[in-house]
Each structure stands twice: as structure tokens, then as C-alpha cells.
Symmetry: C2
Subunit: 326 residues, 2 copies
DNA sequence: CTGAAAGCGCTTACAG
DNA sequence: CTGAAAGCGCTTACAG
């Protein structure tokens, strides 16, 4: 079914049908109403693809996350999808995976769909291959990078000050008398590195030993590395985790070792995710203010869409949420 | 940049460029390589919209969830997106909201994007308005309904046997000696109703009183209704929750009331979500086998896409996962 | 107020 | 092995 079919049924030309659909002025009321009725009765909907071809617009936004099942990414994708749906855009949300090759490939997919804007969610996207793909394949559309940055004129950034967040957490623990605060990092992303820097800076400033551990970022990984940490450094009296998820599973392992939280060991997570408030004991955490971050992305994208020269970098400073584990 | 630009640079016609792009046979090797090089050097990518217009395909799948931030929905969306990306499809994942009007509107959005197939995730979509929208606006493309069904020839279903799952949980508790098992339901979706039926059937079969409570499905709602339940029915010795999330927050409220879990009160959640295994105490739960459900959707959709007459209804029976709360 | 025609960026029969 | 032409479903200047 095309507008020509509608035109035939209504006894008018396709031009007129098009004008009705697009609410253009200067159509006789009777004609308009007849055409509208026939459109409705025929269950006709205009092809956005054909429309986009002539208008040179796709009315699509591309959103890249590495894995949509990760709550942390979903918040941003949700906000943007909802916000732009109201403005008539559809969102293509793609799981771009973890390796740079795959991510760059997804940039090309978005390019071939001619999205009018793109959003990258997560610092994992900050690598040379993705940057090159953006430069080569989407040099003229606004791109918002949540928690990462590129030196490209069309890429704006909304960053969480991860360094400061972790620093603040460790210093807080120090002020509260903890003298051996360990840090458990997840995978080595740019964001992860910033968190580590914050930890190291705090260690320096508080004159305490560096107890830095790495794991894969999963609940199991967090639990296992916690066990290792406790075995190797029984003097540990606080642990800060790069993600709430690890902090929750880590806490469990600490409790299993017959240590008390927070009496023997204080625990802090990162992100203030649903896991943190639901945990038992309720988890103290570094709130990266994901919602504000996400809504800022949304607002900035809307501005960038209307102003081609728009480029901004915004940084949001995390705050500490103190609950039962500190 | 169009294939005409590429053609001009390569000194060939657009037809030839098109053939190279589509890997059609019968192109001189030298020509092919020259065109390929120019495409690469120009960072050209073919417009999927234009291509779709002539081929009458969009290579897009529409996925409707009510809220992408809900882990429960994301699993299915993830599997389908990943599976079909490999087959050359892009996924439009839309948050269709909670009210039938909005959901039906989203069906129309997908229709105007000419998606080649659609997936509805969640029994909330099972209502007259959505069914009508599907019948009217996407009568000829395969639709897979996760956890719901429509009597339409193009709609296949993958259902969780929620009734049986809840029944099994309550009966298990009865066998283990619990005589006053309450049930906390979430919002009244078709799936929620089936769960309630299972609870009521179990009450009948086990000859126990019906202690049925409702809440909004959130963590706070679950905690509050638990408190009410304990006040009104102090004899309660088990609680089954329609979602893990509520079970976790509910458990916390039970512990706060100085009752022991599971000694005084046994607790079971539903879904075997990440929350359940991370909870303290670790939550026993009705495993609705979300992953199997999701991958079945994916497999069925692929079959439906290649066989227009395909229509199936599959039911997956939940199993019980027993951990520390029972 | 309405219609005929051109054109958006592709693909594909048809011709050579 | 390659090209000219028509057509996918729309929109929009132009003409009337």
C-alpha cells in the first residue's frame, strides 16, 4: 500500500495525499477529511524510509552500548530513546561488544543507516579504532560520548569524574580511621584507569600502602579476588570496589570469612546501582550520578542536533552515599 | 556521497558500483578491485534506506519492551539483537511504556519503519488495543510474543508456565511443612494473573488459607506490603513473591522484624535474576528460565522469517532453585 | 486548492 | 563484462 493507492481511492493525486499526511496548509477541508478517513480505513502508514530518502533524513539515532544487559548502560539508552521518541526519532540500540574491531564495525552499521546522531555509552569506546571509524564514517553528525572523549569537532562528552570519586571514597575511609584500604578494579577501561588513579592518589596523600587488585568485573570475579586479598593482606580494613556488583559479592565473601562489616572491614562500591541499596548489609557506594549523566547526554544531543557547531565537555562529580557498610 | 560519485571516480557506471557492492559475479577483477579501493578510500557506505526501498526490505527487526531498564526484558532484546545482527538485521528496540494506547502507537511506529519482523517482550502487551494494532498494521510480518499470545495467524508465542511455577513453589513449601504461605503479586498483567492462579490452586490442593497481597512490583512496594502482611497475619511462615526484587526487599523487612529466614519464614522469589543469587541470604526462587525463553524467541523468529506460514506456541516450565531462604 | 513531473540513492532486468 | 533506463515510495517546487 502506497500513497498512490490512497490517492486512487480518494480520487485525488499523490501530491494531495502527501500534503494531508504532512499537514501542509492549503487543502480543502472536505478533501483533507476524505483522505484522512481513507488512510485510517486502509490502515495505511507512510514509509519512513522513502520519506527519509527524499528529505535526506532518517529520523534515527544510533546508540552504542557494549552490552544492553548491563544496567549501567541501559539508563542512558533509555533516557535518550524516550526523549527522542517524543521528537519523532527512533533509536537503534546496538550491542557493540567489547573489542575495538567490533565496535568500529558498529559505527559503520550506524553510518550506513544514516543515523542523524550517535551516542556512545561507556568509556570502552574510547580507543583508536572507534575514533577513526567516527572520524571516517560519521564526521558530520553530532556524537555524544558518555564517559569518554575524542578530539573530534563533532564529538561532545559527558564524563563522570571517576578519579575524584574514588579518591573521595578512599580519603573518607582514611578519615574514619581505616589505614589499609584496598582497591578492587574491574577490566582496564579508561574509566577504570581513572578510578585507579584516584585510589593511588589517595594512598599517596593518606600515606598508606597500595593494595590494588584486578578482576574481570563480574560478581564471581569480585568474590574470588576478595578472598585472595584477605589471604594475602589480612590487615585490610576497608575495600573499595570499581562496581557495586563486585562489592556485594565481595561483601558476602568477607562475611563468610567471619569478619564483620563494617567493624572489621568497611566496604564501598561504585555506581549507586539498584544492587547497592538492596544488598544486605546495605552498601555504601560512590554515586556516579548516572541519571544526571544520562539526562545531560540527552539534553546535549538535542542541542547538538539543532546547532551544528555545538561541542561541549561536561564533567559530573560523584558523591558518596553512606549506608551500612562503612 | 552516492554510488554515482564512486562511479565517476572509478570511471564506471553506477550499475557496476552496485554490482561490486553486492558481490555480484561477472565483474572484471581489475574493475572490481579499483571500485573497492575507491569505496574504501572515500569512506563510502551504501545507504540502507535507498537499498531497502528498491529491495522492499528494511533489514530491521522491531523489539518492543515496556521499559528497557528492566533486566527482565533486556535478556530477550539482547539475544535477538545479537542473533539478527549476524544475519544483517538491525534492531529497533523501543520502550513502549505501560499503557495500551502507547503500546499500540509503538506498533504503528514499527510498521511505518517497515520492520521485517517484530518481537513483543512481556505479557503486558497482551491486550485488545495491541492485538488490534498488530492485526491492522503488521498482519503480514512474523511476530514473536514472549510470554503472551494473540489469536493471529502471524503471531507465535513463547510462554513461561507461570501458573505451574508458582504452584510448584507453594506446594514445595507445603511439603516442607509450611502451612501459611502468603503470595505477594506485582501489577496485574496476564502473567501476574497466571502466577496468582497457581498460588490459589496450590492453596486449594494443600488445604491452606489464601493470603494474597498486591503491590506495584517495586522494591519499596514489596517491602511495604511485606510489613503489612506480617502485621495482619503473624502466622505467616512463608512468602512467595512475583519478582525477585520484591523478595529481596521483602526479606530485608522480615529480618528487620526480628524474624529469622528461613527458620521463621521461608521466602521465594521469581525469575532467578541476578538479584537472587547476590542477595543475603541467597534467595530461593522460581527460575522462569529467561535465557531459554529468549533464545527460543530468537530461533523461532529466524524460522518464521524464512517460512511465512510458520506459527508455533511453546511453553517452558519453570523450575525451582533452592538456596538459603527455604 | 490541486496535479504532473522530477528527483532522493539505490538495484536489476535488458541490451550490447 | 558493462551501461542506460526504469522504478522502489515518497516530497516538493512549479504550473495552473
Amino acid at each position: 500500500m502506497t500513497i498512490y493507492d490512497i490517492a486512487a481511492k480518494a480520487g485525488v493525486s499523490a501530491s494531495t495525499v502527501s500534503r494531508v499526511i504532512n499537514a501542509r496548509p492549503g487543502i480543502k477541508k472536505a478533501t483533507r477529511e476524505r483522505v484522512e478517513r481513507i488512510i485510517r480505513e486502509s490502515n495505511f502508514s507512510v514509509s519512513e524510509a522513502a520519506r527519509g530518502l527524499v528529505n535526506q533524513t532518517s529520523r534515527m539515532i544510533g546508540i552504542l552500548v557494549s552490552d544492553i544487559r548491563n544496567q549501567h548502560h541501559t539508563e542512558g539508552a533509555y533516557m535518550i530513546e524516550q526523549h527522542f521518541l517524543r521528537l519523532g526519532y527512533c533509536s537503534m540500540i546496538l550491542n557493540a561488544g567489547e573489542d575495538p574491531e567490533s565496535m568500529a564495525g558498529h559505527i559503520m552499521i550506524l553510518a550506513s543507516r544514516r543515523v542523524e546522531a550517535a551516542v556512545l555509552i561507556g568509556s570502552v569506546f574510547q580507543n583508536a579504532l572507534v575514533e577513526k571509524a567516527v572520524r571516517d564514517y560519521m564526521p558530520h553528525i553530532p556524537v555524544i560520548f558518555q564517559n569518554g572523549e575524542f578530539s573530534l569537532p563533532n564529538v561532545s562528552s559527558v564524563l563522570s569524574d571517576d578519579e575524584e570519586g574514588t579518591f573521595a571514597a578512599v580519603r573518607y575511609l582514611h578519615i574514619r580511621g581505616r589505614r589499609s584500604a584496598a582497591y578492587v578494579s574491574g577490566p582496564e577501561t579508561p574509566s577504570g584507569s581513572r578510578k585507579i588513579s584516584g585510589y593511588l592518589r589517595a594512598c599517596g596523600e593518606c600515606r598508606q600502602d597500595e593494595l590494588l587488585y584486578f578482576c574481570d568485573g563480574t560478581a564471581e570475579g569480585g568474590a574470588d579476588v576478595t578472598e585472595k586479598l584477605l589471604a594475602e593482606h589480612p590487615e585490610t580494613d576497608a575495600v573499595v570496589y570499581a562496581f557495586d556488583l563486585m562489592a556485594v559479592s565481595g561483601s558476602r565473601r568477607i562475611l563468610d570469612s567471619r569478619r564483620r562489616i563494617p567493624d572489621d572491614i568497611a566496604v564501598m562500591g561504585t555506581d549507586n546501582s539498584p544492587f547497592s541499596s538492596l544488598a544486605n548489609p546495605r552498601l555504601s557506594t560512590i554515586d556516579t550520578r548516572l541519571q544526571e549523566l544520562s539526562s545531560l547526554c540527552s539534553v546535549m544531543l538535542e542541542r547538538a542536533l539543532s546547532d551544528p557547531s555545538f561541542r561541549e565537555k561536561r564533567i559530573i562529580t560523584p558523591s558518596l552515599v553512606l549506608r551500612e557498610t562503612t
